[in-house]
Amino acid sequence: MRGESRAILLGADIDTDIVIAGRYLRTKDRRIWATHVFEDLDPHLAPRLLGAVIVAGKNFGCGSSREQAAIALKGAGVVAVVAPSFARIFFRNAINIGLPLIEADLECHDGTIVRFDLESGWVEAGGKRTRVRPLSPHMLDILRAGGLVEYWRVKR
């Protein structure tokens, strides 16, 4: 699975409360999460996420287990998230809903073009390629299926 997109830079320890606030959780309308993603961090950020790769600091997705955080990012059009480390529940949630994550400490700016290949295990920014630990075959299967729901629907 390959991708290429422009970077949007965010800081470290981005918690899932800041990705999608608790006040928006009680709905099944996924558009609401995509619309209000990062609202408390920067109300103008959501529309810029379409087709972007988020490049963040360490411990992205910490805090609450709310899966709506990963769904909101994917729904807003985020192609992948790159960070030196992810909080473990967010990591599982993202793979399970089909949002690729890449563990890497990437040097780049807002707007830098980021390329990645999940199978081969590399990510590239500003022409500099960084090797990353490839996702397990099981995780890649889930991502290829589009998420764990689709994975199981086909498998059954």
Binding site: D17, R26, K28, C62, S65, R66, L148
Partner: protein, 403 residues
């Protein structure tokens, strides 16, 4: 030798394993998405309804018709499917699971990040998301990476106005918000044995605030006695020397009342260093500090006095509330001017029942003080019950006196 996680999961740290789970639970927040994902998987059955719990705690009673409609669907499904269902007022999922359900050595998954709380029993207990949980409903299994373990050596005993909460804030500040990532915290040493089960639940509760997969205590006589009260028999887990990837040494007798200042749980200061900051609301409750022992503690401090600011007390469960009624604790709280909420999460997640306003400050006994969590533009200071009680009486952040 093996860590407790390795013993329970049956594999060495670093290995990926598929493991059958003994207990799986969701709440009204994550349960709606779990049910939707489970239906999306084309699922018709549950792996074992007797091992699955649905516990309404996050927005109870419902705050508006949207929430009520979402809850209705999950409630109707849960009631008709022979799984353990706890409706509004039953209490917080982690607390309900701690009242004679989770046993030492079990693998427990909850669709909530604070599921690590139940490691207090010597179980391997951790949080997952809704879609993971849907697959667990379907198959009874999930994958884990067996965690490396951090040994948290506790020495001595808590004294004075210090509480287990101050111990928890101490280790969170030492490890930082990602210092425990992908690892399990094992609380060991003579100080661990001196702690009550309630205090152990609290210490394990904050493990996830360091990114840890879980926090754990070895089951000992305290665990066995606690479970016996619920008619459960359990065996102690012998401790054995184990190679930890990291070790912390904490002398319980050194710890003073602490507070985590907004917006991070790992920014911790002695209460006395920030005393005098005016607060608008005090909140005592949650899966961190809403147990009977917590309610009894605040009642002891405010009894016969009047709180100076609005003070919300939410029992962690119906059992907790019943005991507080029986012993007169609830009467003392009401007479001191406290407001009592329906057992559940209360205002911790900023959805209802005590949301704070722009520029307001809340001193809370909960576990998260992230930006805007309890309301847009509000700030949250996290502290112990004694600090919350002293603060409620003065209307400003106040160091608790020695009881």
């Amino acid at each position: 030798m093996s860590s407790l996680s390795e013993r329970i999961l049956g594999a060495p740290a670093g290995e990926y394993i598929d493991r059958k789970v003994d207990r799986a639970y969701v709440h009204d927040g994550t349960g709606v998405l779990t049910l939707e994902a489970w239906k999306g998987m084309g699922a018709r059955g549950l792996f074992d309804p007797s091992r699955i719990s649905v516990i309404f705690d996050h927005i109870v009673p419902a705050n508006n018709s949207t929430t009520a409609t979402l809850q209705h669907e999950l409630r109707e499904y849960a009631k008709g499917s022979f799984l353990h269902f706890s409706d509004i007022g039953g209490g917080i999922c982690h607390q309900c699971m701690s009242e004679g359900i989770v046993l030492p050595g079990e693998v427990v998954v909850g669709a909530d990040s604070h599921s690590c709380t139940l490691g207090a029993f010597g179980a391997f207990a951790t949080g997952v998301g809704a879609t993971d949980m849907a697959a667990i409903w379907l198959t009874g299994e999930t994958w884990f990476k067996v965690p490396q373990s951090i040994g948290v050596h506790l020495h001595g005993a808590i004294h004075g106005a210090t509480e287990a909460k101050d111990v928890a804030l101490t280790y969170v500040s030492q490890l930082g918000m990602d210092g425990g990532s992908y690892r399990a915290l094992e609380f060991i040493g003579d100080g661990a044995g001196s702690l009550s089960l309630d205090e152990r639940l609290l210490l394990c509760n904050l493990a996830v605030e360091t990114g840890a997969k879980t926090g754990m205590f070895y089951a000992d006589d305290v665990t066995v006695d606690y479970l016996a009260r619920y008619g459960q028999s359990a065996e102690q887990q012998g401790t054995e020397p184990c190679d930890y990837v990291q070790e912390l040494e904490i002398d319980l007798s050194d710890i003073v009342p602490l507070v985590a200042v907004p917006p991070r749980v790992d920014t911790v200061k002695p209460v006395r260093d920030i005393a005098g900051i005016p607060v608008d609301q005090v909140f005592v409750g949650t899966c961190t500090n809403g147990r009977y022992s917590d309610l009894a503690r605040i009642a002891r401090i405010v009894k016969g006095k009047k709180v100076a600011v609005r003070t919300i007390v939410v029992p962690a469960s119906r059992e907790t509330m019943r005991e507080a009624i029986r012993t007169g604790v609830l009467t003392d709280l009401v007479e001191a001017g406290c407001s009592i909420g329906t057992p559940g999460c209360g205002p911790c997640l900023g959805a209802h029942m005590g949301v704070i306003g722009e520029g307001e400050v809340c001193l809370s006994t909960a576990n998260r003080n992230f930006k805007n969590r309890m309301g847009i533009g509000g700030e949250i200071y996290l502290a112990s019950v004694a600090t919350a009680a002293a603060t409620a009486l003065e209307g400003e952040i106040t160091e608790p006196g020695v009881p």
